[in-house]
């Protein structure tokens, strides 16, 4: 199994397509950082406009590396599923299209093993991509903008964290994002089993994610309790919960606190269930599949 995983990772490492995602992440992060570096004040003014009558913010302190990373994460986690899909959807369908799947399956490798290994390789890819994102979005932003207390807006309120109470939250957020993106990878892998060309599963995965994200974001009372809680896209953004903190009765932020940890835990569990469901279905379907390509 380990040897097979090494082979899968070697293939991903050697494939030119792999580096598109890393390049795209770098480009988007750079664009946001440059914009905020030169016109960050306007952005902060706009962001805080709803609260400026009640609170007084020092914009130069609010705009720091931690906040910039939060802004980038908000933007990128919408687009990262597309980048993850480029690799995960190619895992089986790409091999079928290339003609290597039939050669691979004439070797003494079990179909279950192959799917599990392909999923594991996709997860490792997701981890590396998010680590790359963390380095660019967090470390580089800290180098450019420095550090200070972090302010996160939430509807018409805000959460403030001390500078020394932020890094661990990012570690948790990136960890959670790995699980969220792995859910997308698992869905892509499942759809990939049915296709002989990666384009279909890529388009199908992105369409599903977009439609479900729209449903998750829509404020329709009928869907709030009947549909939304069961959509995996509703739980993919739960990483933000690590930046929502508890306060004392006097309004003081409690250091090291998380406002609703059980909700994050529940979302995490739902995503894990979805991953098991998608990967399990991929194994079952792939075991029954006649390889005709």
């Amino acid at each position: 199994m380990w040897k097979l995983l090494q082979i899968e990772l070697f293939k991903i490492y050697k494939r030119p397509r792999t580096y598109i995602a890393f390049g795209a992440v770098m480009a988007i992060v750079a664009v946001v950082q440059v914009a905020l570096r030169y016109d960050g004040k306007s952005y902060i003014d706009f962001m805080m406009s709803g609260l400026s009558d009640t609170f007084e913010f020092q914009n130069d302190k609010v705009l720091n590396g931690y906040l910039v990373c939060f802004i980038i994460l908000n933007t990128l986690l919408i687009h990262v599923p597309l980048l993850v899909t480029l690799i995960a959807a190619d895992e089986v369908a790409g091999e079928a299209n290339m003609g290597t799947l039939r050669l691979l399956m004439t070797k003494p490798v079990s179909r279950t093993q192959l799917i599990l290994v392909k999923f594991a390789a996709s997860v490792i890819y997701v981890i590396l991509l998010l680590m790359w994102m963390a380095v660019l979005a967090l470390l580089i932003s800290i180098l450019i903008f420095g550090t200070n207390d972090m302010v996160v807006l939430r509807n018409d309120s805000f959460h403030q964290m001390q500078a020394n109470d932020v890094v661990w939250r990012y570690v948790m957020a990136f960890g959670y994002a790995t699980v969220a993106m792995s859910t997308v990878a698992a869905l892509s892998l499942l759809l990939s089993v049915f296709a002989d060309n990666a384009v279909g599963p890529i388009v199908a995965t992105i369409s599903i994610v977009i439609v479900l994200t729209i449903l998750s974001e829509m404020n329709i009372p009928l869907y709030d309790k009947t549909v939304k809680p069961y959509l995996f896209t509703s739980h993919m953004v739960a990483w933000k919960g690590f930046f929502y903190v508890k306060s004392t009765e006097e309004g003081e932020t409690i250091k090291g606190s998380i406002e609703n940890l059980p909700a994050i835990g529940r979302s995490f569990l739902i995503l894990v269930i979805y991953i098991c469901l998608f990967v399990g279905s991929a194994v079952v379907c792939f075991k029954k599949k006649d390889i005709l390509s």
């Binding site: 040897k3 082979i7 039939r102 050669l103 070797k107 003494p108 006649d290």
Partner: protein
């Protein structure tokens, strides 16, 4: 000789289509087993079932004395295969592809062995080139190297001569003969190039519409005493009448357009040529029709023609 592949009552249905229909055959150790059939006859489906790419609808398969369903991994460790035109990871080099498939086959192959294998198939000079720069013939040769890298007992080649130039075909033919004679491998080879099968196979299976039509020793099926010779002439009637006056009159078989067919032993062809040269009968060409082609067309298309006319 002990059987290495034993297939009994194999069937595969794709909805209403019976791709393989109650097929049984046996391949003995050391055989070069030719697998013949027209396009859509069920050859590739059968081969894919043997390689566990397709699940059969019914039937039993034993390879090396083990049931394929229950001992898939052990069996595939001893099987090397090419299915139709082999494809590889285009972004990897020949050496990387070969090394990768060796690892997947479960064997640890040192790099000098990888190079030896590339040398065997004539690709050593391109070991470091990416496969995307390879011609079809080179991919075919790399396919052979992949099939052999883990030293399998049984080699299954589905249309290995597809897309090759005459030199490439001759190379593959010689390699198959070498695998069997020098290395003692058992080879199952399917091809639509009937004359190629005739040149290499010692046993042959002919299938049509998924059913077995004939199985047996190649020497019996391709009897050289019954070679059909085609004579392309300017005037069929005159030539036919002239030949009636000679010792070849008993060999005259049929007239087809501007062609006269004679049935004779293959060894007698030079004598016929000599006879015709000594007369003033205008002859455009004289060529033997491959006995297998004759035999094959005879047994696989006869029914089809009847059906076509009946409709």
């Amino acid at each position: 000789m002990a059987s290495i592949v034993s297939v009994s009552h194999l069937s595969k249905h794709f909805r209403d289509l019976k791709a393989v229909d109650d097929l049984s055959f046996t391949v003995n150790e050391g055989d070069i087993y030719g697998f013949l059939g027209q396009n859509g006859a069920g050859k590739s489906t059968t081969i894919r079932i043997l390689l566990t790419l397709i699940e059969p609808t019914a039937g039993d398969i034993e390879i090396m004395g083990m049931n394929l369903k229950n001992h898939r991994k052990e069996i595939l460790q001893n099987v090397g295969a090419i299915i139709e035109k082999p494809d590889f990871y285009k972004y990897l080099t020949a050496q990387e592809n070969l090394s990768l498939f060796a690892k997947i086959s479960g064997v640890k192959v040192p790099s000098h062995k990888i190079k030896e294998q590339l040398e065997l198939v004539g690709l050593i000079d391109r070991a470091g080139s990416k496969v995307k720069t390879f011609s079809q013939g080179m991919k075919q040769r790399l396919g052979i190297a992949v099939a052999l890298i883990h030293d399998p007992k049984l080699i299954i080649l589905d249309e290995p001569m597809n897309g090759l130039d005459p030199q490439g075909i001759a190379d593959i033919r010689n390699l198959i003969l070498q695998l069997s004679k020098s290395m003692g491998k058992t080879v199952i080879v399917s091809s639509h190039l009937l004359n190629e099968i005739e040149l290499i196979a010692n046993r042959v299976l002919i299938i049509d519409k998924g059913k077995k039509v004939e199985e047996g020793a190649a020497a019996e099926l391709f009897d050289p005493a019954n070679t059909l010779v085609e004579l392309l002439v300017a005037d069929v009637e005159t030539t036919w009448n002239s030949l009636q006056q000679t010792s070849w009159k008993d060999n005259l078989y049929a007239k087809e357009g501007t062609t006269i067919l004679l049935r004779m032993h293959r060894n007698d062809i030079p004598m016929l040529f000599k006879t015709l040269s000594s007369t003033d009968i205008p002859i455009y060409s004289l060529s033997p029709r491959h006995s297998l082609e004759d035999y094959f067309l005879n047994i696989t298309t006869q029914n089809r023609h009847v059906e076509t006319f009946a409709n």
